[in-house]
């Protein structure tokens, strides 16, 4: 462990040296005005309320992002970014088919630091809104029961982006970025009172109580982005 910490200053020094040697390349063209991304978000959902809907604790979502740089100051820049993540899981609970659809929208500021023109690090804290739709096929009642809820939270993450394709100088041609980030997404719990849609199933059905569901957990997101 001590050796691992000793490597960190050395790595930082090497990166600064590289930065110094390439500073001649102009930075501004590499600070994207707008950036669109497409990727995958993998979350670790440890909450027991997730168990009826998934054999494992992972939740994979397609992730679409959009960002625009608002301020620039030398290597630092401030952008507004937003993501829409969508994923679904299906499983069975004691023989009853279950499914869970999750939409997650997060919007907020992102602080970027260009260590190199083609490499920047970033961190963001994004207020998040999620809509989940859980369902279970109730074989005894012969009806599908649902629990649909909004929940709110915050995504905090840090990551890095590397420009894998783009001109060295100021050009409006698109630049292709590979982005990876990791963080923690917090979302509040929502009740899993599973009820059929109105008019469906037996008269006066009582809800099936599956507890509550929190989709909070650590996550990783990898994306490919196009920036201008």
């Amino acid at each position: 462990m001590r050796a691992r910490f000793a490597l960190l200053p050395a790595l930082a020094g090497a990166l600064l040296l590289v930065a110094a040697t390439v500073h001649a390349e102009p930075l501004a063209p590499h600070q994207p005005y707008v950036q669109g991304s497409l990727g995958l978000r993998a979350s670790h959902v440890a909450d027991s309320g997730y168990d009826p809907f998934s054999d494992s604790d992972d939740l994979l979502q397609v992730s679409v992002g959009l960002g625009a740089t608002l301020l620039r100051h030398q290597r630092l820049s401030l952008a507004a970014v937003g993501f829409w993540d969508y994923g679904e899981k299906s499983s069975s609970a004691r023989g009853s088919l279950t499914s869970l659809d999750v939409h997650r929208l997060s919007v907020g500021p992102e602080l970027r630091y260009h260590l190199l023109p083609r490499l920047y690090f970033f961190a963001h804290a994004l207020p998040a809104f999620a809509h989940s739709s859980a369902s279970i096929e109730d074989g005894v009642a012969q009806v599908t029961r649902y629990a649909r809820h909004w929940s709110y939270g915050l995504d905090g993450a840090a990551g890095a982006a590397f420009e894998v394709y783009g001109a060295r100088t100021g050009s409006i041609r698109p630049r292709l970025w590979a982005i990876a980030e990791g963080g923690y997404g917090y979302l509040g719990s929502t009740p899993l009172q599973m009820s059929p849609d109105p008019g469906q199933g037996p008269q006066r059905p009582e809800a099936v109580d599956l507890g509550s569901l929190s989709l909070a957990g650590a996550y990783l997101r990898v994306s490919a982005a196009v920036g201008f």
Partner: protein, 519 residues
């Protein structure tokens, strides 16, 4: 993906992947048990029972109680307040922490939680409960070497290992078949004491429950009239005289046992036996009192043979039909429970006779032929069901082999026939106010209130597996019609109604109860 991104994927408890399957009535396990204030639904795949209680009108709450690994038997106490669950535990044992065999008691009256457990040393398969809720017997071990005649007597008034008495019955061959817990028998020379009578292939064993560790008394049964080995078919007793009678297969004689004062040093009591020929193969026996004292009644063909236990003299009374069942109803007709002075009254019935009869033993011995009053009811009776409680203790439900049942008022001697549209299962409410009738697998069920004898037919929205009548937390009566299967789909659902005013117009439907309480 998640492993590539170094996220721990994790799993979920295997219980989510374990489908619910109701018990099928085999191996001594029923799908569900009705208790006074709850319904217990076995969930053997998860080793638990789902307890359903009613906190308020039309409300149903569920929670699960762990039963122990490998459930062997479950029984409800006679007062319907406690569920007994016998489990084998982890077998074979591989670790000191492996769960041991146990007898678990679950309170079905108030807490709906496990109230007590008794740890056993060996796995057992069979469970018998004392109607007075003082004792339980477990037996039928399942080890590599099995002692067929080992009983574990559990004194339910005690806790822990002190409650257990391990008893091996001396055997002339055979194993326990049936058990009878007696009331306190007035054995001469001692305090009244309760006995456990164990019927085996060719003998009886008497266990003094006041001293369960003392050696039991084994009494061989007489041979059949053909000289072959006989077995017991019925055991009855009279507590006041400490008399026991046994109906033995293949013989026209009734085997009488009298518990008497000790005859030898070291004895607590002695057993005096006698064989009394009743002139034919008896179909049923019971002790009754007539104006001259205690008599044993044996139903032999079209005769009721009265046997004087003291003198072994017999008196035959012609019956209007060959009744094969007898039930004393004296207490039902005598609510003050006064000592019998004039004689008992018994109800006679049979599964092949479309009559019932009242056998009044208060008449003069010479006029007993006039003491049997037959009533033509048009259907035969296979079983007589008691009505609990104080309001309608003088009612009996006559269960017939076909799609009818009768509600019989013993005082007025009026019977109310109830015809159903399908096979019939009856569930008498524990408060003794009504009976529920249903046909498992069909959506229809009905309630018959004893006050008005008015049937209320109900059609549930799903197939009904069983119907129970429980007391809610606020004192209300709640009917629970269980739905455990819809075609091939299995789960725990219920239609919940007001038992006092049942109507599907305001019933509530519950399902997914098998999903509650999973880790």
């Amino acid at each position: 993906m998640c492993s590539a991104l170094a996220l721990g994927c994790g799993g979920r408890p295997s219980s989510w992947d374990t489908a619910f399957t109701p018990a099928k009535g085999q191996d001594g396990l029923a799908p569900a048990y009705g208790l006074t204030a709850s319904v217990a639904v076995l969930d053997t795949q998860l080793g638990r029972v789902t307890m359903l209680g009613s906190p308020s009108a039309l409300r149903l709450e569920s929670h699960s109680v762990a039963l122990g690994t490998d459930l062997a038997a479950a029984r409800v106490s006679a007062d319907r307040k406690t569920l007994f669950a016998l489990s084998r535990g982890v077998q074979p044992q591989r670790s000191p922490d492996d769960e041991r065999p146990q007898l678990l008691l679950i309170d079905g009256q108030s807490t709906l939680q496990a109230a007590r457990s008794y740890t056993l040393t060996e796995p057992m398969n069979q469970l018998v409960l004392d109607p007075q809720n003082e004792w339980a017997v477990v037996y039928g071990s399942a080890g590599v070497v099995v002692n067929l005649n080992e009983l574990v007597l559990v004194n339910l008034a005690q806790a822990g290992s002190e409650a257990l008495s391990f008893k091996t019955l001396l055997s002339f061959g055979g194993s326990p078949k049936r058990f009878t817990f007696t009331a306190p028998l007035a054995v001469p020379g001692g305090q009244p004491r309760r006995f456990l009578i164990v019927e085996r292939d060719s003998d009886l064993v008497l266990i003094d429950l006041s001293q369960p560790d003392r050696e039991a008394v084994t009494v061989p049964l007489p041979s059949t009239d053909a000289g072959t080995t006989a077995s017991s078919a019925q055991v009855v007793y009279d507590a006041d005289t400490a008399s026991i009678a046994v109906r033995v297969t293949g013989t026209t004689s009734v085997f009488m046992l009298q518990l008497a004062a000790p005859a030898l040093d070291g004895q607590e009591y002695s057993v005096v036996t006698n064989l009394v020929d009743v002139g034919g193969l008896p179909a049923a026996i019971d002790f009754v009192h007539n104006t001259q004292g205690l008599r044993l009644v044996a139903l032999v063909g079209s005769s009721a043979v009265l046997v004087d236990p003291d003198t072994a003299t017999t008196q035959a009374v012609q019956m209007p039909a060959a009744f094969t069942g007898i039930r004393r109803i004296t207490n039902e007709l005598n609510p003050a429970a006064m000592p019998v002075a004039d004689g008992d009254v018994a109800l006679l019935y049979g599964p092949n006779i479309t009559k019932i009869a009242y056998f009044n033993l208060s008449g003069a011995p010479g006029a007993l032929f006039r003491s049997i009053e037959p009533y033509e009811i048009g259907v035969s009776v296979k079983n007589v069901i008691d009505v609990p409680g104080e309001a309608y203790f003088d009612h009996k439900i006559l269960e017939t082999p076909n799609q009818q049942f009768y509600v019989l008022d013993l005082h007025t001697r009026e019977s109310a026939p109830m015809k159903t549209s399908g096979a019939l299962t009856l569930e008498v409410a524990p408060d003794g106010q009504r009976v529920w009738a249903y046909n498992p697998g069909q959506p229809g069920f009905a309630s018959v209130d004893f006050a008005k004898l008015h049937p209320v037919s109900l059609i549930a929205e799903r197939q009904v597996s069983q119907v129970f009548d429980i007391e809610g937390a606020s004192g209300q009566r709640t009917a629970v019609a269980l739905h455990l299967a819809q075609g091939t789909t299995l789960g725990i659902g219920a239609t919940v109604l007001d038992a006092l005013s049942p109507s599907t117009a305001n019933a509530r439907f519950y399902s997914g109860l098998e999903l509650g309480g999973l880790p």
